[in-house]
């Protein structure tokens, strides 16, 4: 059971609640749109995203800053500002559409069945409240347990996330802990009520590289132990490479490719995915190799271009790309979908690339995925 493949972009379809007893995905996002109303325009941060996640599985959501991935995770949870935000679509969590719920009812789910780990551990903890209370307050609220019981649980939790001297930490304040430790505390807070779904929004971006892999390993271990589903949002493909079951690549508010992890790396179709993979620096490369970057910037989501949103930066782009937006279509392997007119690894794609190179729209040859390609486009 993988992330569901769709043959076409679902228009505003709604899924009705399946009969009891059938296997229901834990999370089913249907055509989610999140728009922000600003002075100048309406910014379409999440522009029609659909995905599903089964219990116990991990989905990686990868994209640059500005791709809308953080807004997506918050939209799924419903953790958006009250004013000037418009959200459309369904978010079916354990079969119920939580996109329709008001904050009063959502707050019963938050922390208890669905939890989030935030990006910046330095600002995510209240500096004037002790760690102990920050760990136990929601446990006592959701589970109605005594303070003593909750405190015991807190000590166990801190221990399980690898914090030494957990009892002492309960009385300490956040500023007394290092960044890595604080993030562990954040994870403990998120896991405290044993949620079914964990949304991890760039959990390691603000941390030292050495600490990053520890934290990610911790997350994976906890997930396995608790049979918890996880959505791991990041801009770094390296982070999701070995740790996710499926990956969804986001660009400019849309999902442009999704596939099981191995399939994505072996058989990517969308040029953006290819470019992302190529931009991962490799230890094996000789020193002073140029870093591959994707030139240009993501589009202004208040005024997105017609046609494929990646076209201005794409090495394979043709006229059709600039005029018509490609829909998400299924690829040969199960669970794999992509949105491209001239996909990588297909004859049309190769021709398109060659055409662009001939016409001088590409500065140097862009080698296919595996190698260390040089230079960029245009």
């Amino acid at each position: 059971m993988n992330a569901a493949a769709t043959n076409t972009v679902p228009e505003a379809t709604t899924r009705s609640r399946p009969p009891a007893g059938r296997d229901v995905p834990l999370l089913d996002v249907v055509d989610l749109h999140t728009n922000f109303r600003t002075e100048h325009a309406v910014v379409r941060a999440v522009d029609g995203v659909s995905l599903t996640l089964e219990q116990g599985r991990t989905l990686g959501v990868v994209g640059e800053s500005g791709s809308g991935k953080t807004v997506l995770s918050r939209s799924i949870m419903g953790l958006l500002p009250r004013r000037n935000v418009i959200r459309r679509g369904q978010v079916l969590f354990e079969g119920d559409d939580i996109a329709q719920l008001d904050e009063e009812r959502l707050s019963r789910i938050w922390g208890a069945r669905m939890a989030m780990v935030f990006q910046d551990p330095m600002t995510s903890l209240n500096p004037v409240v002790r760690i102990g209370r920050q760990l136990t307050e929601h446990v006592r609220l959701h589970n109605k347990v005594s303070k003593a019981h909750a405190t015991e649980r807190a000590v166990e939790l801190l221990d399980s996330v690898g914090i030494p001297e957990p009892k002492r930490r309960l009385d300490e304040y956040p500023h007394q802990l290092s960044g890595g430790m604080r993030q562990r505390v954040m994870i403990a807070i998120a896991l405290a009520c044993s949620p079914k779904l964990l949304l991890a929004d760039e959990p390691t971006t603000a941390l030292d590289v050495t600490v990053q892999s520890q934290i990610l390993d911790l997350l994976s271990a906890q997930q396995r132990e608790r049979d918890m589903a996880m959505v791991l949002v990041t801009h770094d493909l390296g982070v999701v490479a070995g740790r996710t079951d499926d990956i969804a690549v986001m660009y400019a508010g849309k999902i442009v490719e999704k596939a099981p992890t191995r399939t994505l790396f072996a058989n990517m179709r969308m040029p953006y995915t290819e470019a992302l993979i190529q931009s991962i620096p490799r230890l094996a490369n000789p020193s002073h190799s140029r870093l591959n970057v994707i030139p240009g910037r993501p589009p202004d989501m208040g005024n997105p271009p017609a046609g494929c949103r990646f076209a201005p930066r794409c090495a394979y782009a043709q006229d059709r790309c600039r005029e018509e937006q490609p829909p998400l279509v299924a690829a040969d392997q199960p669970g794999h979908a992509y949105a491209c007119w001239y996909p990588v690894g297909t004859p049309e794609g190769r021709d398109a690339l060659a055409r662009n190179q001939r016409e001088g729209r590409v500065q140097a040859a862009t080698a296919p995925a595996a190698g260390a390609g040089a230079g960029g486009t245009r």
Binding site: F36, E39, V43, A45, S65, G68, P81, R83, Q119, M301
Partner: protein, 301 residues
């Protein structure tokens, strides 16, 4: 009133800023360069009061010191504000009370800014020992509760317009110096000052040409708000009978007179109170608006 409120939504994507209006006369968009109708209305009022004060000797008003008719009359065509408890025309008295408040207000702060502002400017630019001395003295002066000191000064020196003005001026030096100093420090650390220094410009030129034009606008808005405070201070002192002597009307001593008969003839205290309140309010609005106007320009840089 603070600047228009900003509702910032920031999600690791583009920061989306939505401005909310919270302030009469302020526009919806944050970076607005107009002073607004509130400013002009307030300045207009202050100007009117100043004009009335200056012209008061020659205006066709009834004699403020002589009883004209029955005490405690209600407002009428002959006496626009009615009469006070001695039968004197209230409107005329309120108008004649304006000069004292305004003179003390503006003169004391003018003096305070001249001395304190200069000290602050020099301390903020030259830093070092001068800065420590000025800041130290200012903090010590600020360790005294102001009214008590002003009271003591005026008592032992004798109440008069001059003494009150100087007392308030002296009390204003410390806070004004500290604020001007703070502002100067910020500007002194900017590149254009460093550039001028590198070109070998003399200190005097830098201060006059570069710093002063930047510090003056915020000093002016600070000054306006301080004048409001000074007017209230003088009002308090004259309420206690420690400012200009009766029968010269001041808004403060008129309120004191009105206090005795507040039950039967509330207007006697109310008119001068209203005049003072509106003037102080106008000065606050004008000073505050001016500060926002110059702050926003700052932000543009």
């Amino acid at each position: 009133m603070s600047a228009p409120e900003l509702d910032v939504v920031q999600f690791g994507g583009p920061a989306v800023v939505i401005a909310q209006p919270d302030d009469p006369g302020a526009e919806v968009v944050a970076a607005k360069k107009r002073l607004g109708w509130v400013f002009w209305l307030s300045s207009g009022w202050v100007g009117l009061v100043v004009l009335a004060a200056i012209l008061s000797p020659v205006l066709p008003l009834q004699d403020p010191d002589l009883p004209q008719t029955m005490p405690g009359l209600a407002p009428s065509g002959a006496h626009w504000f009615g009469t006070d408890d001695l039968g004197r025309d209230l409107f005329s008295r309120v108008v004649h009370g304006a000069p004292v408040s305004l003179i003390v207000g503006f003169a004391s702060i003018g003096l305070g800014l001249a001395v304190g502002g200069t000290l602050g400017l020099l301390a903020g630019y030259f830093r070092g020992f001068l800065d420590q001395v000025v800041t130290g003295f200012s903090n010590i002066l600020l360790a005294f509760p102001a009214l008590v000191l002003g009271l003591a000064i005026v008592t032992f020196w004798g109440p008069s317009l001059l003494h009150v003005t100087i007392a308030i001026a002296v009390l204003s030096i410390a806070p004004l110096a500290l604020v001007v100093r703070g502002s100067t420090v910020i500007y002194s650390e900017r590149e254009f000052v460093a550039a001028a220094r590198m070109l070998g410009t003399s200190n005097r030129r830098i201060i006059v040409r570069e710093l002063l034009p930047n510090v003056v606008p915020s000093a002016v808005s600070l000054g306006l708000i301080s004048v409001a405070v000074a007017i209230v201070a003088e009002g308090g002192l004259s309420f206690l009978g420690l400012s200009v002597r009766p029968p010269t009307p001041t808004w403060g001593n008129m309120i004191a007179e009105g206090q005795a008969v507040i039950g039967q003839h509330p207007l006697i205290a109310l008119w001068p109170g209203l005049a003072m309140f509106v003037t102080v309010l106008a000065l606050n609005f004008a000073g505050d608006r001016l500060r926002q106007y110059f702050d926003v320009k700052e932000g543009g840089l």
